[in-house]
Symmetry: C2
Subunit: 430 residues, 2 copies
């Protein structure tokens, strides 16, 4: 059997410990699959003496992760620190500069510095693998980079944040508000104390920007992603979605339309019966559409110790087997700068909910504004009567330019009889 | 850019033509992804002059596919002839013996000769890739061989035959009989004139035996697969399934249980709400369960020109990129001979349907037989009354040993009041 692959692990949080679990538990299996042992040589973490419940007796401890990344007796560095700057970035840059391959789960780092890091990896002839950075245990990076390599990809849609999907699933199941379910999710450890990265869609946007690059051969362009989170989704919207034959999901979506690249993250109405609508709880999923393969759908656990570590070890196995693919599927020099299609130019149907005073003439005023902005109504629901009180008015509007609808709703919001900012949720079809 | 990868293609049926489509349509894209052009040098087919609607002007024609497989100016041979013997086998054996990598979609060939071919490929240092042989465009071979390589896999369940899934879907949609829907499927080209390979489960069994080997590191053992097809599924069973909260699917399933390997292909009751239950029409899907990653579910088109060719080209891209993995994930010498767990030892719940004469004492006789064989009833449905006429009697029985239920049903079938062979369909849970 060939020489062991010598591994350095930076970070002993949930992800790092999962990696140790697998290396300890499946040493023989992995050696058979790789044709060589995977040997954990050194670990680095903030606190050396913390009790972690895993056996680290076979490896030494390095206080400084950047020093670990320089060590000549290490072939591959796993970066499991997190964050787009600071130690994580330094570790990755240092390891690559020292001719070591890197495995990381760090989507923020890739979204912000992916191209520079890929360039460095290419220059130094090493791998930069990041399967765990998107959709946890689902092998979506490998699927896009290799499995669907025969196709020009046309569209990619994913449920990429388990926290948001859990919250939306629980809101539907219980009828409770966003705030209530978020608090429960925090108590259960499914949401961070500061949930902004997740619920405001930033985490999904990081991941989407990576998938977009892999799918379309474009340089990562995180700043062009249109991002809306799920804070404004109300229980009433979830109920209306159901009534209209949909379920609300936070999707990250990318499409190539007439040579322009659209990237958007926002809550969507997904038709019931679509695989993405059935993805519940903390699961993640990706629907990829290629010109020859058609639609391929992948679903699995998007986070957690086991699934994330599974993806990191798969990246290690590739390196141990000598499999190297350009970081973003083609050499960095071949990545194009896709012109961004702004959300204002997005065209699609939409759900709109207003709170209006139940007075004569309200409907006439609103529909006139919509007509003036070229927005046509498919369905309208108003229930019950409560003269001079506020009632919910729900509409589904036909395919319309996003900016037209936005202008119309801004104007409608200024009507005296409209008592709340209009709520709009785009409707997707697949 | 590096030297082109020189390709020989044997077989210009649906699959072969799909390969030509992609090579012609995506030449530049593929060259970027591979770092070298994919060049179709020669094709072989039975009829040289048939009009096929694709441009083959860039390559020559070889009348004898085995001669093509020997040519020194070819690096990789694509076998798209089909069948486990004859020309297909000879082409693959010849190509490997001449130091060429092989890409094939031929599940029958692999199920019967996979180990010998893998041994030859290993000896000759070439790749034997077969992504297209299972589940068409879904990258399930790559997922098992690489993407989930960190896991000991525990179970794999797949809808692997689009013809059967189409027939079952249509039977549910229309309420028509198997025979009626089969005839329609034949008229539409979704089923062969001789449908036996598909509807009797053999095709699914071929594919399952390949997945089992990849998942568990065992030598392919096609002869141990328990195989039942869908000919005996009746419209009434589909209706009862629905009523009981299930949908009938033909699954190929493999599990490792106490060191033994269970492989079975038969119609199953799949709980509604499970992703496998929602797979409709000609789509295929695989649910894989690993010890760290948990469940991963993949769905896509399982056949057809585009999806199958997509998988073949992905295999070519791997070869062009220099990625080589042992044929069945570990070297042939490391594959174990898994002891087979026979269907008689399978334990699970089951749906049973009988046609019995509506007479006093029938139920007492039946339930006594079931009790004697240790089979316990969870649900029983008998509707309507028709004294002395035959009525349907439906039961769900609790987890029971397969052979116990088989013995009980054999005894029940001999009762005077039982007018038809009992129908049983195993119930799966995931």
């Amino acid at each position: 059997m060939a020489e062991p692959l010598r591994i350095g692990l930076c970070g002993l949080g949930t992800v790092g410990l999962g990696v140790v679990d697998i290396l300890n538990g499946h040493g023989r299996l992995l050696a058979e699959r790789c044709g060589r042992p995977l040997s954990l040589v050194s670990v680095s973490a903030r606190d050396r003496n913390k009790s972690r419940g895993v056996n680290l007796s076979g490896c030494d401890f390095e206080a400084d992760p950047v020093a670990l990344a320089r060590r000549p007796d290490i072939d591959v560095v796993i970066e499991a620190i997190g964050g787009s700057e600071g130690a994580a970035r330094q570790v990755v840059e240092t390891a690559i500069a020292h001719g070591k391959s890197v495995v990381t789960a760090n989507k923020a780092l890739l979204a912000h510095h992916g191209i520079a890091l890929a360039t460095a990896a290419e220059t130094n002839g090493v791998s930069l693998n990041f399967e765990a950075s998107v959709a946890g245990g689902i092998p979506i990076v490998k699927t896009l980079r290799e499995g669907l390599a025969a196709n020009a990809l046309e569209r990619i849609s994913g449920i990429l944040n388990g926290t948001c999907n859990y919250i939306l699933t629980e809101m539907e199941r219980t009828g409770a508000s966003f705030e209530t379910v978020l608090a429960e999710a925090q108590a259960l450890g499914y949401a961070e104390a500061d949930p902004s990265f997740d619920v405001d869609g930033i985490d999904t946007a990081h991941k989407l920007s990576i998938l977009t690059s892999l799918a379309f051969g474009t340089a990562i362009d995180f700043s062009s992603v249109h991002v809306e989170g799920i804070r404004n989704v109300q229980a009433i919207d979830i109920a209306y979605a159901r009534e209209l034959g949909f379920r609300i999901k936070l999707l990250g979506q990318a499409r190539r339309i007439d040579g322009r690249i659209e990237q958007r993250v926002h809550p969507c109405f997904v038709p019931l019966g679509q695989p993405l609508a059935a993805v519940a709880g903390v699961f993640n999923a990706v629907l990829a559409q290629g010109d020859f393969v058609g639609r391929v759908f992948l679903e699995g656990r998007g986070a957690g110790r086991g699934p994330t570590a599974s993806a990191i070890i798969a990246d290690l196995v590739d390196i141990a087997r000598g499999l190297r693919v350009p970081t973003f599927a083609v050499p960095v020099g071949r990545l194009t700068r896709g012109q961004a299609l702004p959300i204002a130019d997005h065209i699609g149907p939409c759900y709109v909910r207003l709170r209006v005073l139940d007075r004569p003439g309200v409907l006439a005023a609103m529909t006139a504004i919509l007509a003036r902005h070229d927005v046509s109504i498919e369905t309208m629901i108003q229930r019950g009567r409560a003269p001079d009180e506020a009632v919910a008015l729900v509409m589904v509007v036909h395919e319309t330019k996003d900016s037209n609808l936005a202008s119309a709703l801004a104007e409608i919001a200024r009507l005296d009889s409209v008592v709340e900012q209009p709520c709009r949720i785009r409707i997707e079809s697949f």
